[in-house]
């Protein structure tokens, strides 16, 4: 029956437009899914959803045919600026940052950010403050994520960002997170999909959906505002939202505010629950993401240092075995070095984490450490072997005629002199390991690169996160390079 209404509205938009009018290109993300925008399962060439109907209503009012343009959710703002479409609507959240970078309409829907928990936790976890020390999930790049980042500082929760709105809830059921914060539209959809969950009706915050256009398209934006206001007055919006089961008592209040506010003052309609500028340009988002980036950098640093330590110790043992060992030991160690060095570390990490799971279930961080350590040990051992073999023979002969044992010779004469030769390549490897450690994100360890990705996905831009990530890596490697260079300079004095 709802399909009938939809067909009617489709007819309207394909029949009414004046011939010769350019189509109204409207952008949205069909992966966002129902009730926003989704390909019609019965006819995937057409879209269904309340945003679709609103877009088509606007097109009809403008007397232009509607044409849908698929745009990834995270790219909507950029695409608007580039002019990939005329208007964009796809559950786009209002924010001061967005208002600063694109032309934004008045809000046409008010949503509540709500907390969903497992049924058993219904009374324990009623607010973000109850969730101190707990993991709270949400969809990245949304106002909800910004709220969680704030709560990380204020309430001591841990924010966990997902790329879709399904897994936060499934992981909630599995106990991987203890709550989900998302808007009530998505929460209701999830409640229908899953049993054993409960959503607290209280709003943690309130937000609004808006329509965006290229910054210079203020005239179009004003027309859209007029059409939206008219649709609020004449019940068109109410009819659409009712059809999609999204109508509630918040909307008339919103409409009253919008219709009451001066049309020339868009800030009057700015979202209520969120401080202005929380979702927005990257630099503004920076202070909120910096703490998590810094702690991810600490993970990277600790992991790299521990893995390097393991690699150095093992590398010394392997190199010693290859220089001093009997032929069998040497052959075995050579095979180890060639295999570990010659095959991808990613594969080795998988084998250690998943392949060995039957024998020993290593925690992700330990598996990452061991995997990187074992891999880099092969590289280090080659460096040490070569350095040991470059120590002049006379030095070893002198040690031998003095009666030093081979081990003493290694420790007191050979290794100290070889270390100088090994220092620069070792520093290289440590600096490379800092970056290589990002591979362990496949084992669910969140380190600097992964956190940068999360940041970038959430703000929809790579520029600032990438720059920051590079700076953080640099900040870790520079002191090391500096130290190595100073050691080298000190030893240079001893070059004959």
């Amino acid at each position: 029956m709802i399909r009938l209404a939809l067909l009617t509205s489709l007819l309207v938009c394909t029949v009414t437009p004046a011939l010769g009018q350019p189509p109204l290109r409207w952008g949205g993300d069909s992966e966002g899914g129902a009730p926003f925008v989704e390909a019609d399962p019965a006819d995937p060439s057409t879209m269904v959803g309340f945003d679709v109907e609103i877009a088509e209503h606007i097109a009809a009012q403008l007397g232009r045919p509607a044409r849908f343009v698929q745009i990834a959710y995270a790219s909507l703002d950029q695409s608007a600026r580039r002019g990939d479409f005329d208007i964009g609507l796809s559950g786009i959240e209002d924010s001061a940052g967005r208002r600063a970078s694109v032309a934004a309409s008045v809000p046409y829907y008010e949503f509540r950010e709500v907390i969903t928990v497992r049924e058993g936790d219904r009374d324990r976890f009623r607010s973000l403050a109850d969730l101190r020390g707990r993991r709270v999930a949400t969809l990245g790049g949304t106002m909800a994520y910004d709220l969680l980042l704030q709560a990380e500082r204020d309430d001591g929760i841990t924010a966990v960002s997902y790329d879709d709105d399904v897994h936060p809830y499934s992981d909630l059921l599995l106990g991987r997170v203890d709550a989900v914060l998302l808007d009530h539209v998505l929460a209701e959809r999830a409640m229908r999909r899953n049993t054993g969950l409960v959503t607290h009706p209280e709003a943690v915050a309130v937000g609004h959906y808006i329509i965006i256009a290229a910054p210079e398209q203020t005239a179009l934006r004003d027309r859209v505002d007029d059409i939206l206001r008219a649709a609020m007055r004449d019940g068109t919006l109410e009819r659409i939202f009712r059809k999609w089961g999204c109508w509630n008592e918040d909307q008339p209040a919103l409409y009253a505010r919008v219709l009451g506010a001066a049309a020339t003052d868009p800030s009057a309609t700015a979202p209520a629950g969120v401080p202005p500028g929380t979702v927005g340009r990257a630099w503004e988002a920076l202070p909120r993401y910096l703490p998590s980036l810094l702690s991810a950098a600490v993970v990277t640093l600790v992991l790299s240092c521990a893995a390097m330590l393991l690699a150095v110790v093992l590398g010394v043992l392997i190199a010693t075995g290859r220089v001093y060992g009997d032929p069998v030991t040497r052959a075995v160690l050579t095979v180890y070095v060639e295999v570990m060095r010659g095959t991808p570390v990613l594969l080795q990490l998988f084998v250690i984490y998943y392949g060995l799971a039957g024998v020993v279930r290593l925690p992700a961080f330990i598996a990452a450490l061991v995997g990187l350590g074992l891999n880099y040990a092969a590289y280090e051992s080659e460096i040490y072997r070569s350095a040991l073999e470059a120590v002049p023979r006379g030095q070893l002969e002198a040690a031998r005629v003095l009666g030093l044992t081979p081990l003493q010779t290694l420790r007191l004469v050979r290794a100290p002199q070889a270390f100088r030769l090994a220092l620069a390549p070792m520093t290289n490897d440590f600096v490379a390991l800092l970056k290589d450690s990002s591979l362990v994100s496949v084992l669910t360890v969140v380190e600097l690169t992964k956190q940068t990705q999360i940041f970038a996905t959430n703000i929809g831009s790579w520029l600032v996160p990438g720059l920051l990530c590079a700076l953080l890596y640099l900040a870790m490697s520079l002191p090391l390079s500096h130290l190595a260079r100073r050691l080298e300079d000190r030893w240079k004095v001893a070059t004959p």
Partner: protein
């Protein structure tokens, strides 16, 4: 193991060159035996074999634990002179650092390089390095001491100091085997000289005897006896 050295029929080839063609050599405690021979005649090679750094192709060797001073000093490049001398006493003989440093200080002082104790090898002059290397070998006090051209970089004064020190060591029951190109030094301080030529021992005996009245053509050539005669020395 006695401090007596006994070598029979030592032979060594390098590629198709025969370096040693059957060397017989004995040395007893109290002796200072000097090996002389043309450059390239195999003196260093013999010492290296005795020190266990090289393998002979044939021959019978009876050799006590030997210390060695190399023709090129081979001081440990990353350690100071003092540390070079103390290393073996501390780690091989398990002396305390204080003990080792006291003895090392004495030795360096005797050899005239006490003032350079804190220098790294590369900061030493040729003769200084040579003397530190000698001190390093003396510090472990081995029953047999092999010295490869210990006088090469020494001025006459240092040479005599060294000669006196070696003589004293021999007198205390050590066996000393050294190589030298310096006939004056050998004449003054060796108890026996062995002349090498063509990979063989051609002559041996009391230095004064052998060096003044060389019997063999090779020895005379080595010492340039005719030339010296001619110059009236």
């Amino acid at each position: 193991m006695s401090a007596t050295l006994r070598v029979r029929g030592l032979r060594l080839w390098r590629g198709d060159r025969q370096i040693l063609a059957g060397i017989d050599l004995d040395a007893s405690p109290g002796e200072v035996v000097a090996l002389m021979g043309l450059s390239g005649s195999g003196k260093t090679t013999i010492l290296r074999i005795l020190a266990g750094l090289e393998r002979a192709d044939a021959g019978d060797i009876q050799v006590p634990k030997a210390g060695m001073v190399f023709q090129y000093h081979y001081l440990f490049e990353h350690l100071t002179a003092m540390e070079n001398v103390c290393l073996a006493p501390m780690y091989v003989q398990r002396q305390t650092r204080a003990q080792a440093e006291a003895r090392a200080g004495e030795l360096l002082g005797e050899l005239g390089v006490g003032h350079r104790a804190d220098a790294l090898p590369r900061e030493l002059s040729g003769g200084e390095a040579q003397r530190v290397a000698i001190a390093r070998a003396l510090a472990v006090d081995p029953p047999l001491l092999l010295l490869d051209e210990p006088t090469a970089s020494l001025d006459p004064a240092r040479r005599n100091d060294l000669g006196d020190a070696l003589k004293a060591l021999a007198a205390s029951g050590r066996t000393l085997l050294l190589t030298s190109h310096d006939d004056d030094f050998v004449r003054d301080f060796a108890s026996r000289v062995v002349i090498l030529a063509g990979g063989r021992m051609v002559e041996q005996g009391d230095p004064r005897q052998v060096l003044e009245y060389a019997q063999h053509e090779e020895t005379r050539e080595l010492l340039q006896v005719e030339r010296q005669r001619k110059l009236g020395r």
